[in-house]
């Protein structure tokens, strides 16, 4: 299940819904929020309706197959957000914890670098588009869509 939406999500409600179809074993979740680092005042995400959902669905399907997950979910926001606002809910479920945790780490990492979004940061009242995934997120290798 994936959703790309403008409005905030209720992480507790998303988790409840996911648990209802997760099966037995392990459920791992990740909630990402907008960071205020380096004076970022606001973050705006542009997306291509339909295309963005299609690419994220393909990524989620690949994670389910690769890690033999029972289920996976992604809720990703677009539009204008403030530091602290939730932007991503991701969840994986598997019979055993290792698969759920490994899949979640890979899913979130690949969303950060591959998901079809265009980010615009506002600093000092001035907005500018970011061309590539932010290098500040650990030493993650930059990936591109095929």
């Amino acid at each position: 299940m994936i959703r790309v939406q403008r409005q905030p999500f209720d992480a507790a409600e998303e988790l409840r819904a996911f648990m209802a179809r997760a099966g037995e074993g392990a459920v791992a979740t990740f909630i990402g929020t907008v960071r205020a680092e380096d004076g970022v005042e606001a973050l705006t995400l542009d997306h291509y309706p339909g295309f963005t959902e299609k690419q994220i669905t393909a990524l989620v399907s690949a994670m389910i197959d690769q890690h033999r997950l029972a289920a996976a979910a992604v809720v990703h926001r677009f539009g204008r957000m403030q530091p602290g606002d939730p932007i991503l809910f991701a969840a994986t479920a598997a019979p055993h914890r290792r698969a759920a945790l490994d899949a979640l780490a890979e899913l979130v990492e690949r969303l950060k670098t591959e998901a079809p979004f265009w980010k615009k940061e506002q600093r000092g009242g001035i907005e500018h588009w970011l061309d590539v995934p932010r290098a500040s997120d650990e030493a993650s290798p930059e990936r591109t869509l095929p």
Partner: protein, 75 residues
């Protein structure tokens, strides 16, 4: 033809432009739009036709949806 542009190209009014019937492939469309907006013809700008990324020169039909995609910045 329905034209779309995202990210740093989203301020361009590509959907207001009447594409002449002589534009029948992605290369010709890039050149046509590039006359007005050189940044859209840059090699880093990828093209999706009917929501599928394409490479090289692809023929276009009048009812196609063509999107111009700058480098993506991830989620």
């Amino acid at each position: 033809m329905r034209l779309l542009a995202f990210g740093k190209l989203s301020h361009l009014n590509v959907d207001d432009l009447a594409v002449p019937p002589t534009v029948t492939d992605t290369d010709a469309l890039r050149r046509f739009l590039g006359q007005r907006w050189p940044q859209i013809a840059a090699p880093e700008i990828r093209i999706a036709v009917n929501q599928t990324l394409v490479q090289g020169v692809v023929p276009l039909s009048p009812d196609d949806e063509i999107a111009f995609l700058p480098p993506m910045s991830g989620g």
